[in-house]
């Protein structure tokens, strides 16, 4: 959701903040189905911008935190799939399919939220997500 920020970012800051979300989108296309790529891309972007303005750092942190939790969920799905394909005593089952469908739903939701955040922050608007926003607020100080 859009909320207030201590200051209105300049054009260059807004662009960088927007790019932090775009990083995870580009990584989805390159890294699919390897979930680590998304996390690495946002982590590298976060490291590269850790001395940037507060607006950029804040959004890099939010993008990184969301990618981190997605990484855990997606990695579980990835390795479960590998075991279904490789191990003789593991097979396609209802719990497996339910997990993959749940992961897919949350990935689509996260994708929609990321695109929306990228567009809004590019316009200089502040976007604070449920849970990730308050967590970023704790971790990222002006």
């Amino acid at each position: 959701m859009a909320s207030t920020f201590p200051y209105h970012p300049e054009e260059a800051e807004a662009e960088k903040a927007s790019n932090s979300y775009l990083m995870s989108l580009v990584a989805i296309m390159v890294g699919f189905p390897l979930p680590i790529i998304n996390l690495l891309a946002t982590l590298l972007f976060y490291i590269a911008n850790r001395k940037s303005g507060y607006f950029v750092r804040w959004h890099c942190t939010q993008a990184l935190l969301s990618q981190f939790s997605l990484f855990i969920v997606n990695s579980t799905g990835f390795w479960w799939t590998v075991s279904v394909l490789v191990m003789e005593d593991e097979h396609v089952s209802n719990p497996y399919l339910a997990y993959i469908i749940t992961v897919f739903v949350f990935n689509v939701l996260e994708l929609a939220m990321t695109i929306s955040a990228a567009i809004k922050t590019r316009k200089g608007m502040h976007v604070s997500w449920y849970f990730y926003g308050p967590l970023t607020q704790i971790m990222c100080k002006p």
């Binding site: 969920v73 003789e88 396609v92 339910a98 469908i101 739903v105 949350f106 308050p134 704790i138």
Partner: protein
Amino acid sequence: MKKTLVQAIVLLLLITGVYLLVSRVDWMKLFRIEKMSDALEKKVGDIVWEGMKEQSVEAGSEYNRVDSLVTALCKSNGINRKKIKVHIMGDNEVNAFAMPDNHLVVHTGLINAVKNNDELSGVLAHEIAHMELSHVMKKLLKQLGYTVLINLTTGEAGGEAIKQVLGMLSSTAYDRKLEKDADVKAVEYLKKTGISANGFADFLYRLGEKDGALGNLSWISTHPDSRERAKYIREEAK
């Protein structure tokens, strides 16, 4: 901080809730996965069997002996006897294996190597367990993949693929866990039939000693650690 914690809990509950909700749907039935797997197994079984049926004997004393033991095991364990197709291969290979669509292949070498019906019943119960626990298709799917098996049924894979499947089923082992599962199930079948599992353990122990008098020991190469297996079968049989 408190707000963040509350939101973290709410988010976790939401994800868990969605998963539990999605889990209530029978996706296997919805996507017809089991039906498709059964149809694939039948086709693979028919094609592979077609490639080896000329060497099999479908009558005679050896066939009757195996057939009666299989019937007894099935009857005592509520297994549909009609679905298991028994085939005897006339050679000195000490081997027996299960094929897709419940084809049970037993070599005369194995029948001659066992000392009594208890030993033979143990081996048969073990192979029936592989069938009942769906190990045969699991093994083929893991080692060859859906694409090769589907190509096999459409004729695109050719004779080499059929040989590969046959070789895989007759001369390579299941993984250790599946072998143990089949052994445990076999002991259960034997107990319910009123047959002592010690016969099965004795036979495995003799295989473990690689007794040259037994002949061409294919079954030992597909079923490693025979002595260890004999030990836990005796334990299970108690």
